[in-house]
Amino acid sequence: MSALQMPIRRGSVSFARFRLGAAPPRDVRRWLTTALRAGAFEPIDLRGDQDRAAGFVELEAEGMTAFTPSTMFTGMAAVFAWRVDKLRLPSAQLRGELARWSQAFEAANKRPPGRKEKTEQKDTLKRAWRSRAEPVSRTFDVSLDLTSRELLVWATSSTVVEEVHAALEEQLGMAVVRAVPSAAIASNRLDALQPTPALFGGGA
């Protein structure tokens, strides 16, 4: 996805709102850069078994993870992205190749291949496919207002939003709280709060 297509720049405005649970350190730029580098995107190892990879990348270049101030800060906000790469196994294609191999095996050996031979061949085909596969890549923009500490995840998928939320909490080392009404209430008061019976018609 190119920078021009990014939702943070143009197009549909949809985002999940969060707020940093504590004040960031004084050297906020260094703190953020270190955190993002620690959770930086690493491509899928095509020789391994991994089918999915996710991590932070620069907003302007989805292959870059340097997070230099010139690429990350605009006005009083930090902008970066969450990249997700997936390998999609073409199962129908693999089934077809396995069927052709089975026919060739039977013609050569005068018997159909056994279960073990089929499994081995399937693994061989999968490895061969992985070595030339191109992962499908998507990026989701993230912005952090350094003044208000409001963090926006520019995505509509709840799975992606939760994944970015968890990654940020881990890398920033602090709670990142969803901007819902309950978040604005002190915890001791919130625990005592119950749904209003007259409004819920006794269903709460």
Binding site: S12, R17, G75, A198, G201
Partner: protein
Amino acid sequence: VAARRAKSKETGFPKGETGVDGAATAEAVEPEVAEQARAQEALLRGRAWLGRECLTWLLWKSESTQAIASVEKQEVRVVFSERLTLRSASAEVKELLVKGVTAPYTRQVRHAIAAGLLVHGARVQLTWGEQVYVATLDAESFDVRAAKLPALLQEEESERLTERLELAARLGALLDALVLAFLAARLSRGWEGTVVPALLEWARAP
């Protein structure tokens, strides 16, 4: 039929659906009970009930067209339009969706609220000074969906990005102000004695 039942018992055993005596291992749950449980779970998840109370209170307050909050000394006005979803955790009708420019303020919606269905999702228009923002909200996450921001004034790409981020932050600030206005009422002593009766009176009006 008897042969089919016997076969069902045989196939159910390895799946753990039936015991050695052929009886079901778990009691079958009535669809109504399962639906009720799902509705209750949705109500409690992420304290969605508080979000529903908030959006319902906002709908009620917005009908007067008076400002509900202020940000940087400028009033924030709210209008619900286009579509509104109401949900219940107990009534026979679990969800009601209305569409239409003035649909959120119709008698049907008010009477549904009186019957225990509260606003779960809504398309709202927020006016702050000369700026108009439109967004879809839901009671559980309060995520902003398909929002329309005021037109960008800057022409340089980098300045446009900064301006867009500022407008998105402004929209967040307006939502925060509205939520705080709701919480001031919700956490006040008059909530159950004054505010809720007035809201229900509005909802029950013919």
